[in-house]
C-alpha cells in the first residue's frame, strides 16, 4: 500500500486546510440561516389566504428545486454579472455568489420543511391562543413558531449537514474552500489518498460538531420538566429515542 502518513499529517495540519474548513463552515452557516428565513417566508406565502402570494411561493419552490444546484451556482457567479454589470465590481466575491446561490436553492427545500412544520401544529392551538385575545402576530410568535421549531429541527439539521457538503460545489467558482484546496494540493503533489483522506477527516469532524449542536437544540425542545435532572447525554439520547 502506498500511503504516506507524513504527507497525510502535514495536509491535516496545514494552514490551507484550516482556512478551507473555516470558509466551508462560514458559508454553511450563513447560507443555511438565510435559507431558513427564506423558507419561513415562502412557507407562509404558500399557506396565505391570498392567491397571488400562494402562486409566488409555489413558483419559487418549483424553480429553485428543479434546477441543479451547480447550475444555479454557475448562473449566479457567471451569468448575473453579465446581466447586471454592477456585479462585475470586485466586491462580488465567490463567497457572496455562493452564499446567494446556495441560500436561494436551499430556501426552496426549507420552505417545504417549514410548511410541514406549520401543518403539524394542531389547529386547536391557534384557536386557544386567539380565544385568549392574542393578536395574530403574538399567536404566531408565542404559540405557533415554537411548535414549528420542534418539528423542523431534525430535518433542518439534515439540511445543515447537506449544505456543508454542497459548499464543495463552490470550488467550481473558485471559492477557496476545503475541496478547492485539496484539489490544488493534489495537482502539485499527486498524492490523492492522503489529501482526500485529510479532507474527509475535516468533513467528519465538522459534521460531528453539528450533530452535537442538534442534540443540544433538540433537548431544549423536549418540553418536559425532567430535563437536566439526570445526566445530560442520557436525557438527550432518551429524547432522541422517543422520537
Amino acid at each position: 500500500m502506498n500511503f504516506d502518513p507524513a504527507t497525510f499529517w502535514q495536509a491535516l495540519t496545514s494552514q490551507g486546510f484550516r482556512d478551507g474548513a473555516i470558509i466551508a463552515i462560514a458559508l454553511t452557516v450563513v447560507a443555511q440561516l438565510t435559507a431558513v428565513v427564506i423558507g419561513l417566508v415562502v412557507a407562509l406565502m404558500r399557506g396565505s389566504g391570498f392567491r397571488i402570494l400562494r402562486a409566488i411561493g409555489w413558483t419559487y419552490v418549483w424553480i429553485f428545486r428543479a434546477i441543479p444546484t451547480l447550475v444555479q451556482l454557475l448562473f449566479v457567479w457567471n451569468a448575473l454579472p453579465q446581466l447586471f454589470p454592477a456585479l462585475i465590481e470586485g466586491w462580488f466575491s465567490p463567497f457572496l455568489a455562493a452564499w446567494l446561490a446556495l441560500s436561494l436553492n436551499e430556501g426552496a427545500y426549507m420552505a417545504e420543511i417549514v410548511r410541514s412544520g406549520l401543518l403539524a401544529v394542531d389547529e386547536g392551538q391557534q384557536l386557544a391562543a386567539r380565544a385568549l385575545g392574542m393578536t395574530p402576530r403574538s399567536v404566531f410568535r408565542r404559540v405557533v413558531l415554537p411548535q414549528v421549531m420542534r418539528v423542523i429541527i431534525p430535518p433542518t439539521a439534515n439540511e445543515f449537514i447537506t449544505m456543508l457538503k454542497i459548499t464543495s460545489l463552490a470550488s467550481a467558482i473558485s471559492l477557496q474552500e476545503l475541496l478547492s484546496y485539496t484539489q490544488q494540493s493534489i495537482s502539485i503533489s499527486f498524492r490523492f489518498a492522503e489529501y482526500y483522506a485529510a479532507a474527509a477527516i475535516y468533513y467528519l469532524v465538522i459534521v460531528s460538531v453539528f450533530m452535537v449542536f442538534q442534540a443540544l437544540l433538540e433537548r431544549r425542545f423536549l418540553w418536559t420538566s425532567q430535563r437536566g435532572e439526570s445526566g445530560r447525554l442520557s436525557t438527550t439520547l432518551r429524547g432522541l429515542g422517543a422520537r
Partner: protein, 284 residues
C-alpha cells in the same frame, strides 16, 4: 371546598383586579339586560346551515347549560359567541353592546383580527380537548395571556398565575408540562388560563367529554365553585347531572335551533318538546 376557613376564591378581586362579574358587581351598560346575548345568529358552512337563527341571553351570574345531540351546532354556537368564527347574520351582544362587528353605513363589517382580539379577551373559553400549549409549563400556559394580552410584567403574571393554579388545586404542578399532566389536570390548567384574564363570561365547550370518567369530577368541582362565586357561564355539556344541579337555565339545541329553554326543573321533569324528551331518554 368552601368549608375550609382559609378557602380562597377563584374570582378573587385582589388577584384579578376589580370584579367584572358576580352578584356584587354593579351592572354597567344595559340595566336589567342580559350580560351575553345571541340575537338570531345564523351560520353556514357551504351548503350546510349549522345555525338557523339562534337567540338567547345569559343573565349576569347565571349558568346556562346547553344540551343537544352532536352535530346540532352547540360548539359552533360557542365559537361564534367567542368571536372565533364569523357569523353570517345576527348579533352577539356583551353587556348590551354589539361585538365582533362595526357599522359601515347600512352594512355591518367584521372587525379586523386585531380589534377582535381585544374583545375576545373579555370572554373566557375552555375547549373539549384542552388545547394547552405543549411547549409551555402549566405556569407558562396561564401566564401567556397576562403577558401578551394584558401586558403584565413577567413577575406579576407569574404571581397571579401561580396563585390561580393553586386555587384550582395544581399548586404542586406549576412547573409541569401539559404532557406530564392528567386530562383532568390539563383541563383545570385550561380553566385557570381563561380565568386569569378576568373574563366577563366563561364559555365551556364539552369540558369533560375528553376525560376518563374518574377525572370528570375534579373538573366539574372547579366549575361548580365558579358558578357559586357568581361567574356567568355557558356550558355545552353531556353531563346531565351538572346541568340539573348547577345550571339556572337549560337549553336544548337540535339541528341548529334552540328548541327548549327552561329551568332545570321544567326542562328535566316536563320537557315541552318531543325531541327533547327523546334526547333525555337516550342519554339517561
Amino acid at each position: 371546598m368552601t368549608d375550609q376557613p382559609d378557602h380562597k376564591l377563584l374570582l378573587d378581586p385582589d388577584l384579578l383586579g376589580p370584579a367584572e362579574v358576580g352578584p356584587s358587581a354593579t351592572a354597567p351598560g344595559s340595566p336589567g339586560g342580559s350580560l351575553l346575548e345571541a340575537v338570531d345568529i345564523r351560520k353556514r358552512y357551504g351548503r350546510n346551515e349549522v345555525l338557523r337563527g339562534v337567540s338567547f341571553g345569559v343573565e349576569r351570574g347565571d349558568v346556562k347549560a346547553v344540551l343537544g345531540p352532536s352535530g346540532s351546532g352547540k360548539s359552533t354556537m360557542l365559537r361564534c359567541l367567542a368571536l372565533l368564527e364569523p357569523i353570517d347574520a345576527g348579533e352577539v351582544r356583551l353587556e348590551g353592546r354589539t361585538i365582533g362587528v362595526r357599522r359601515a353605513g347600512a352594512r355591518t363589517v367584521r372587525l379586523p383580527e386585531r380589534e377582535l382580539a381585544g374583545q375576545r379577551s373579555d370572554i373566557g373559553m375552555v375547549f373539549q380537548r384542552f388545547n394547552l400549549f405543549p411547549h409551555l409549563t402549566a405556569l407558562g400556559n396561564v401566564m401567556l395571556g397576562l403577558t401578551e394580552v394584558r401586558h403584565r410584567s413577567k413577575a406579576d403574571a407569574s404571581k397571579i398565575a401561580g396563585a390561580m393554579l393553586e386555587r384550582v388545586g395544581l399548586g404542586p404542578r406549576t412547573n409541569f408540562y401539559p404532557s406530564e399532566l392528567s386530562g383532568g389536570q390539563q383541563q383545570r390548567v385550561a380553566i385557570a388560563r381563561a380565568l386569569v384574564m378576568n373574563p366577563k363570561v366563561m364559555l365551556f365547550d364539552e369540558p369533560t367529554s375528553a376525560l376518563d370518567p374518574e377525572l370528570v369530577g375534579e373538573v366539574l368541582a372547579v366549575m361548580e365553585e365558579l358558578a357559586r362565586e357568581g361567574m356567568t357561564m355557558v356550558v355545552v355539556t353531556h353531563e346531565i347531572g351538572f346541568a340539573r344541579k348547577v345550571a339556572d337555565r337549560v337549553l336544548m339545541m337540535d339541528e341548529g335551533e334552540i328548541i327548549e329553554d327552561g329551568t332545570p326543573d321544567e326542562f328535566f321533569a316536563n320537557p315541552r318538546h318531543e325531541r327533547t324528551r327523546r334526547f333525555l331518554e337516550a342519554v339517561h
